[in-house]
Symmetry: C2
Subunit: 190 residues, 2 copies
């Protein structure tokens, strides 16, 4: 599916934007292509944009003491990602985003998002909905972290994203679960 159509259908599920208005809205999104392994956003960068995934798979991650990596989110088509804390507080990125596979994204600047939100009430509604979904998912993951052991969290993850198992290397799954790759490996045999 084409980028424009994908975004349009994605928004249309929640908000109704007139066809001609959508053309205008879409003109603010900048298409970008990346190769596997390329960085979209790196720690320390000034963060201007958020990204809507058209194809491929991204990871948003944090690196501690330049040693351990924790993955906050795998971003698949129709998902949005960025370092939102940095984006809203206008601080340098602490979260990085890069490509697990080749990827196409649409880039929307924070400035344009705010402009569009104030021009189109329905778009503001859409973004409220989207953020709300993210908030609920994040709370759920937090609870799972407190409540479940690694094995259960692993099963939860695979139930939620069955594609992930074959798509991304195991050590990245470990980094999402917040567990060492060795421990994840041992889960299979038990």
């Amino acid at each position: 599916m084409e980028a424009k159509e994908l975004l349009q259908q994605h928004i249309a599920k929640i908000a109704s934007i007139k066809e001609e208005d959508f053309d205008y809205v879409f003109s603010h999104f900048k298409p970008m292509s990346f190769k596997k392994g390329q960085a979209i956003l790196s720690e320390g960068d000034k963060v201007d944009c958020e990204y809507f995934v058209i194809s491929g798979c991204l990871k948003a991650f944090f690196i501690n003491d330049e040693i351990k990596m924790y993955i906050l989110q795998f971003a698949m088509p129709t998902w949005w990602t960025s370092d939102y804390a940095a984006l809203y507080n206008q601080t340098p990125a602490t979260i990085s985003v890069d490509c697990i596979t080749d990827a196409e994204v649409l880039c929307l600047s924070s400035e344009d998002r705010e402009k569009l939100c104030s021009e189109f009430h329905q778009l503001e509604h859409f973004f409220r909905w989207r953020t709300n979904r993210g908030y609920i998912a994040s709370q759920k993951r937090l609870l799972s972290f407190m409540n479940n052991n690694v094995k259960k969290r692993y099963e939860e993850l695979l139930a939620l994203y069955p594609q992930l198992y074959n798509l991304v290397p195991k050590h990245l799954i470990a980094a999402y679960l917040g567990v060492s790759r060795e421990t994840l490996s041992r889960l299979h045999s038990s």
Copy 2:
């Protein structure tokens, strides 16, 4: 400060609502008072409302296997709380809310929130902002969970809410940190 004034000032930081419009908006909020220990929302309940705290301190928590409690949020004045997953998905509550101290809250039904959001673009803007803040805070806490040991998380919590130390019993702080009360107790002596 009066409930109405508190809410008005809270919203005014982000959105501009005309004085006469605010009267109308405020009429949808239902003031309620609770005593220390009272439940505002219990597991299994139908969830219709979210709550804006005027005074006192609430906790939003999850109980696992009817044994362990995990606190998702302490809600202080000007904070909002509810079981948002249940509220948006129209499912029974899995998260409960009750009062750590006597408390006054304003109750806003989901229906009224949606109605007001569609009537006032600025209010939709406010709620997008609010949810966004919650999302960012939740992601930050998730990272802290993956990255920090109990002692660091404890210090972070106290830095964020210095009042909490004297206001709430230690075993509730342990339930927020996701740690046993014994371990938390031992942190003091080390």
